[in-house]
Every structure is written in C-alpha cells, then in structure tokens.
C-alpha cells in the first residue's frame, strides 16, 4: 500500500518535470504550429549549465535556478532569431528540419564541451525523507513541485494580465487576425521561445538533480517525453499539456512498479502511438474534429531537378565499378563501402520522406530489423547469408510497414514524432526481448558475407557486392518512380485530400512506399550485420537516422541519384578533410541547417 503511494508521488513529481518541457512545446505549437524538436536540447543545456553553476561556481540553489532559466532563455531566443525566423515563409518541411538540425548541433556542442561521460549533479538539498501518509517525500520532490506550481502561476499571470501575454494568446487563436490587429508576431515568437526555453532548461536541471546524474543522451528522451505529454494533452493546449504530463508520469511510474524499470520508456511511447492513432487531437478534444494542420502550404520546396543524362550516370557507375582494379588503398574502398551502405538507407528514406512526404526520424529501426533478422537466421538456423540478407529486407519491409501503418493518417510533424517513437520502441523491444535478441549482450559471431558458398572477405569483393546491391536497388527505385506508383506517391505528398478525392487510398500507397523502402533499408542493415560481425540494440541509432536525413536533403528529396551523391559526399568528404569522428555529427547538423536555409531543394533538386 505504502509503495503505491510512493509510486503515485514519484509519478506526479516526474510528471511535473515533463510538464515544464511540455508547456513550452504547447506554447510554441500554439503560436507557430511547430513541434520544436530542439526542446530536449535546451533541457540538456539547462542541465549542464546547472552543473557548471553548482559544481564549479558553487552558486546557491535559488541563484542556480535563475542562472539556468536565464541562460536557457537566451539559447531559446537565439534559436528563434537565427534558426527559425528566416524560415517563416518557406515550405512546410523547412522549420521541421531546422529544429531537428538545431537539436543535433546543440547536443553535439554540449557533448564536445563536456564529454559524453555522465556527471553527477548534486542538489545541495539535505538528504532527508518526510513521512506523508504511507509514503515518503524528500525536499527535492517539494522543490520540483514548487517550481512547477510557481511556473504555472507565473505563466498564468503572464498570459492573462500582460499585454504580451494577450498577444501570445491572440496569435495562437488566429495568427493572421492577430497580425492584422497589429500584434508583432516576431515579438510573440520571441516571448514564447524564451519562456519555453527557460522552463525546459530548469526542467533539465531538476531532473539532473533528481537522479543526481546528467548525460548527453537526456536530450532525445526529453524531447520525446515532452512531445508525448503535449500530444496526449492536445497539441497547443497549455493546460492539456500539464495534465498530459502528470498522466504520463503516473502511467510510467505504475508501469515501472508492475513491469520493471526497463519498460519505462516503452509505456511512454506506446501511450503516444495509441493517442496519435485514436485521438490525434489529444484526450480533451472531440475525436471527430479534423486534426490541426501542423503547417500549411507546399510541403517540399518546388524545384526543377537537375537532369543528368543516362550516359553520364552509366559512365560514373562504370568508373566506380572498375575502381578496385586501380591501385586504390583499402581505406578508400572501406570508405566507399560505408557510402554504399548509407546509400541504400538514403534510397529508402528519400522514397519515404521525399517521394511520399513522410519524414521518418526512426529509419535506423529498419536497419536494425534487417540486421537482426539476417544475423539470427544465418547464425541460429544456418540460412545461407545471401538468402538471410534478402529475408532481412523482407522482414524490414513487412514489420516496418506494419509498425508504421497506424500512423498513416497522420501528417507533417506528427509523422516524424510517430516514427521517432516507433524507432525507440523497436530499440527497446530488441533490448528487452532477450530470448530472441539476446538483449543488451547483443549478437556476436555473425558469419561473414558469402554468396553461393564463397566467402566475401576481401575489401574488393565486399566493395563490389555492396555496390552492385545498391545500384540494383537504385535502378528498381528509378523504375518505380517512373511508374504510376511514382506519381501516386508524389500526388499524395503534395495534397492528400485531392489525392483521396481521385481514388488514391492513403493506406495502400503509403504501405507500398514503406514496403519498398523498408526492403532497401533492411538489406542495408543485413549486409552491415555480416560486415560488423557484432550488433546490439545501439548499433543502429538515431544518429544514423539523422545522417540519412541529411544525405536525403543534400541530394534533393525524392532524388535517387541525389541520395547516392549525398551519401558519397557525407561519408567521403569528412575522410578527405580528415575530420575527427566526434566533430562529424556536429558538421552533419550544420550542413542540414545550412541546406534548409539556403538550398532547400538540395544539390540535384527535389522530384
């Protein structure tokens, strides 16, 4: 009995922390119809500023809170001013990609400054527990509750009684009308980003103190949890976000009580997927109301793709095919093998995100499904590696499509959230389903690549194998784009309502796109598994999803040749310039941001 009270208190306290993140997300969504994927990064920045203040500057707690809130608010203002304001009139996909890019840049900056190792963040509060009823409560719990309530009160007063607060509320009800009445939307955005960042930063610091540990992996988790809470409460609904957060805290806390700690996140993401599918407007809106359009206007940047003549492509392919006959180093071959593997993933993502308009942030999960299927089939059942890889592709196609299918009715940002969550779910299932996946230990001793009984061990043979597989997939995809399916996919992307009015079933065509894309990604993952000989639940992570997304944007959304050119560029150029591994993700993030801002159609143009 007493433990249940403890779990309830814990749930409410954690929910309070989520609320600080979710309220910021709701404010931003209300004003700009944008889900800020960088919210978790601000939370991370808040936690590390808190660490600097507490551990290095020895500030007293009240001052620490003020310093963190102020510094985080400045970060928020910078994001608004330089990351998002220039994109106000651009295509729908631009701000979505921008916040993803900003989040990666911030996370990497924190990681480079403070190293990825976890740090302790002491709370400076006395370590006592008070008996409350049958449970206990500590001073930190009270602090978190106090900060939560105080911020809610301050926010309420601001929105209700200040002129800027009125402007925020007006802009979130009807942005155009507010602008016509003279509301300065830039100031409103500034206010909202500043407040959201301050709340997010303080939240990160409090969580760090609560667990007495901070690390750079906090960011993605916080974004996801905040988004879950916000979507559960109804996007853009501030009180709803608070209730959604408390609910999420309780669901997680009780879930942990019943099933154990490793299932905590699984509950959060399942809750998200269930809410997105059943009540996309959140729990407090009527189910029949159409979901609010995240952003309106054209989804991808219109452009005329660069037409590369077939003979030029054939010549380029021939050059790469005969490359191993020339005296090139293994290092070059190895780099290009990585490019071909990434190329297969990028082909998959450019079809799904570019041609079909479903910006997937969980694409690495398809790699993982293919890799685990192929590894387990060849290792435990002795299936020949070539067949196992194809089976991996088919499994990715089937399972990936099945997992994503509930979110086929979602649009824009919601698709990205759902795919991010589904990617996390796949990774968590791999971690927890020990009887099949061997859990955290991973799978080792995966047999090397082989074809018709011949092992492919030399770099040259691996190079040819991966190159040929990628070229075949690219040719198939080109053929697909030239068929009625290509135009059907693109029609649904451009206007799904008009597409439905002309008889195009969203479920059918989104499934086909994911089946084809899932196969390519699964094959890539399968080949990778046999190359690495060891995989675990972290081998295929969100960084790979983001890298693939950057490749796709760089090459041009939906552009098959662009996906390959982008892969060679993003894998090859850092090697050419000898950029240290830890700076690469940072550079990918910056490249993504620059592209979104200055060349949203990519190098070769969107198709």
């Amino acid at each position: 009995m007493s433990s249940w009270l403890d779990y309830t208190i814990n749930g409410l306290i954690v929910g309070n922390v989520y609320a600080l993140v979710a309220v910021g997300l709701a404010l931003i969504f209300g004003v700009s119809r944008l889900i800020n994927f960088a919210q978790g990064s601000i939370y991370l920045v808040g936690a590390y500023i808190g660490w600097v203040a507490v551990v290095q500057l020895h500030t007293p707690l009240p001052l620490t809170i003020i310093v963190v809130a102020a510094a985080a608010a400045v970060v928020g203002l910078i994001i608004e001013r330089f990351g998002l304001r220039p994109l106000q009139n651009s295509v729908r996909i631009a701000p979505l990609l921008a916040t993803i890019g900003i989040s990666f840049v911030l996370d990497q900056l924190v990681m480079l400054t403070f190293s990825p190792n976890p740090r302790a963040l002491p709370s400076q509060l006395p370590d006592v527990r008070f008996q409350v009823g049958g449970g206990t409560i500590g001073p930190l719990d009270l602090l978190i509750a106090g900060v939560g309530l105080t911020s809610a009160l301050l926010l309420f007063v601001f929105l209700r009684y200040s002129k800027l607060g009125w402007a925020v509320r007006a802009a979130s009800q009807d942005r155009d009308a507010a602008m016509q009445m003279g509301v300065d939307v830039n100031r409103v955005n500034q206010a909202v980003f500043g407040i959201a960042a301050a709340l997010g930063g303080v939240s990160g610091m409090l969580v760090g103190m609560y667990y007495n540990q901070i690390d750079t992996a906090m960011s993605l988790q916080a974004t996801l949890k905040g988004v879950v809470a916000e979507v559960v409460g109804g996007a853009g609904n501030v009180p709803g976000a608070v209730i959604g957060s408390l609910l999420l805290g309780l669901v997680e806390s009780y879930g942990v009580a019943v099933f154990g700690t490793s299932y905590r996140n699984l509950f959060a993401f399942l809750l998200l997927v269930v809410v997105l599918v059943l009540r996309p407007n959140g729990l407090f809106a009527s189910a029949r109301q159409a979901p609010p359009e995240p952003l309106t206007g054209t989804f991808i940047a219109p452009s005329r793709p660069v037409r590369i003549p077939r003979w030029a492509l054939a010549v380029a392919a021939a050059i790469f095919a005969v490359l191993p006959f020339f005296p090139v180093s293994f290092y070059v071959l190895q780099t290009l093998i990585n490019a071909w593997l990434l190329g297969m993933l990028a082909l998959s993502l450019t079809l799904v995100a570019g041609t079909m308009g479903q910006v997937s942030l969980g694409h690495a999960a398809l790699l993982a499904i293919g890799a685990y299927t192929s590894a387990l089939l060849s290792l435990t059942l002795g299936v020949p590696v070539g067949l196992a890889i194809i089976a991996g592709g088919l499994m990715s196609a089937a399972l990936g499509t099945l997992l994503i299918s509930p979110s086929f009715r979602l649009r824009g940002h919601y698709v990205s959230i759902a795919t991010l969550a589904i990617g996390e779910i796949v990774s968590l299932v791999i971690l927890n389903w020990e009887s099949v996946t061997r859990g955290p230990i991973g799978i080792s001793g995966i047999p090397p690549l082989s074809l018709f009984g011949y092992d492919l061990i030399s770099p040259t043979s691996i190079y040819w194998f991966s190159f040929i597989v990628m070229v075949v997939l690219a040719l198939l995809q080109g053929r697909l784009l030239g068929s009625h399916l290509g135009r059907s996919f693109r029609a649904i992307r451009d206007d799904d309502i008009a597409a439905r009015a002309y008889g195009l079933s969203l479920n059918r065509y989104k499934s086909l796109a994911f089946i084809f894309g899932g196969f390519a990604a699964g094959v890539s993952g399968g080949i990778a598994a046999h190359l690495y000989s060891y995989i675990n639940h972290e081998t295929f992570n969100t960084q790979q999803s983001i890298l693939a997304l950057t490749v796709v944007i760089l090459g041009g959304l939906g552009n098959v040749v662009g996906a390959i050119v982008g892969s060679v560029a993003l894998v090859g150029l850092p090697e050419v310039f000898r950029i240290a591994a830890e700076y690469r993700i940072l550079i990918y993030g910056i490249v993504l941001l620059l592209l979104v801002r200055f060349r949203p159609q990519g190098l070769l143009g969107t198709i």
Partner: protein
C-alpha cells in the same frame, strides 16, 4: 428499369454542424441525369461544405446522400471516386510538383485496370510488382491514358498543351483551374462537381470556361456547379439553388430565383430594411 425513376443524385435532410454553427442545414436536392444545377449564395453559405459532404471529404451529422439509387452517405472519397464522382476544389488543389500530364493522369487513377488487378489481400503487392515489371498490358494502358490526357488537354486550346511537362506550381492561376477540370474529366465522371471554376479568371477566360462547361453539358454530363458569376449560372443551369447560412432559401429556374426577395436580401445583406450603415456597406 427502376433506375430511370431515380434521380442521379439525391440529398435528403443533409446537415453538418461545426460547434454551434450549422454549416449545412437540412438540405434536400435532386439532380437528374444530364442535368446541370447551380448552387449560389453568399460566401460562407455552406456551398463548399455541401460539396465535401457529397464527395466524402466530410461526413454529415444527419441526412442521406443517394447516388444512382444507392445510399452513399459517409463513404470514403476513394470509394466515391471509384463510383464516378469527380470534383474540383474552390481554392485549386493541383499537385504542385507534378507535371500537367501527371496531374491529369492522377484523375484517371480509378480507371487503371492492367496495373491494379482487383485481387483481394495481395492486390497491392501485385500492383507493386506490375509497376516494376511493366508487362506489355501495363505499358499499353499507360500509353492509352497518356493519349487520352492529351485529348482532354486539347479541349483547352493552346492553354495547357504547350505546358504539358511543366510542374503545376509554375502555372498561372487560371491554368491551374483548367488542370483541375482536366483532371476531373480524366476520371470519366458520371457526376461532376465544379466548385467555382471561374474564380479569379478574367472575362475572356470566364467565357472560355463557360463554353467548355456548356460543351460538357451538351455531351450529357451531369453537373453540380457552384458559381458566383450569375451571368454564367443563368445561361447554363436548368435550375438554381440558393443557399444562405446553410439553408436552401430558394430553388427554381434562374430568372425566377433571381427576383425572389429572400435571395436579394441574402446577397445584399441581412435586415436590409434597417440601418444606413448596412446600405453604405452594400
């Protein structure tokens, strides 16, 4: 046999509410085969919402829609397109990044047979396979449809044919409206719903569009038309239905409807007998 007695489209008590607002309020309507009926009314009268209810993009709160004697209330837009109902959109919903050719080909989507075998369960997989393999039958179908699209585009004179490979986003506003209509014709509809086909067009372009709609009517196509340009409405329609605040306030031949006091009031402002302020606004 019995079909002859049915109107092609029949609405009974069709109602749609948004919160406190009743956008479409108990509308009855019968449209016979080969007839052209226009729906007019001030902005916000519920005309487009009515179209959305008929084409399945929105579901009614009450009432029924019958098409060729069959109850189609609440069916999905995909199903209704397959039944032969095509529409254009008020604000123009062309596929911006698709070429004119591809836009119109999408209109013919429900007529694809060779590449979309009607096989349950594995049908979609067969479609994927056929799209990749492209046997002769699929190629022939695609070729035939492309020729057909060119013929449809030729109805618009030299407006669209020279731009057949250009992306729709690069077209003028009027040309986008034309692409919408071409796309609807590619479906070979039994019932065509046109939502303000001449919006934003100059007098010459409007006259062209009017001639085209008259041609379609002469070919026997059944048409439901939303239009603000009364001149066009009067010339083309057998009957005119006037909507205001969701309700049908008048119905009959154009000349008769035009003179009804309720209609004049709806157009010129409510309570016209009232204040000077409204008079100056009118």
């Amino acid at each position: 046999m019995a079909e002859q007695h049915h109107p092609m489209l029949s609405l009974r008590g069709l109602t749609r509410r948004f919160g406190g607002l009743t956008a479409v309020d108990a509308i009855d309507l019968d449209l016979a085969r080969g007839e052209l009926i226009s729906i007019i009314g001030p902005n916000g009268a519920g005309k487009t919402t009515l179209f959305n209810l008929v084409t399945g993009l929105d579901r009614p709160d009450a009432g029924t829609v019958h098409f060729e004697g069959q109850d189609i209330t609440g069916l999905s837009p995909e199903r209704l397109a397959a039944e032969g109902i095509a529409r254009t959109f008020q604000l123009g919903r062309v596929f911006g990044n698709l070429s004119v050719m591809d836009n119109v080909l999408i209109g013919a989507h429900t007529r694809l047979r060779a590449v979309k075998p009607a096989v349950p369960v594995i049908g979609p997989l067969l479609e994927l396979g056929l799209a990749l393999l492209r046997p002769a039958s699929v190629k022939a179908e695609e070729e035939r449809l492309r020729e057909e699209v060119k013929a449809i585009l030729a109805r618009f004179g030299e407006r669209l044919l020279p731009r057949i490979d250009q992306p729709a986003y690069s077209l003028s506003y009027a040309n986008r409206r034309r692409v919408e209509i071409a796309r609807a014709l590619a479906l070979q509809p039994r019932l065509l719903l046109l939502d303000e086909p001449t919006a934003g067009m100059n007098p010459t372009e409007t006259a062209e569009m009017q001639a085209l709609v008259a041609e379609l009517k002469a070919e026997g196509l059944t048409i439901l038309l939303i239009e603000h340009k009364l001149e066009m409405v009067m010339r083309l329609s057998e009957r005119v239905i006037v909507m205001d605040e969701g309700k049908k306030i008048a119905e009959g031949p154009g000349e008769q409807v035009r003179t009804e006091p309720k209609v004049i009031e709806a157009y010129l402002g409510h309570g016209l007998s009232g204040t000077a302020e409204q008079e100056s606004a009118a």
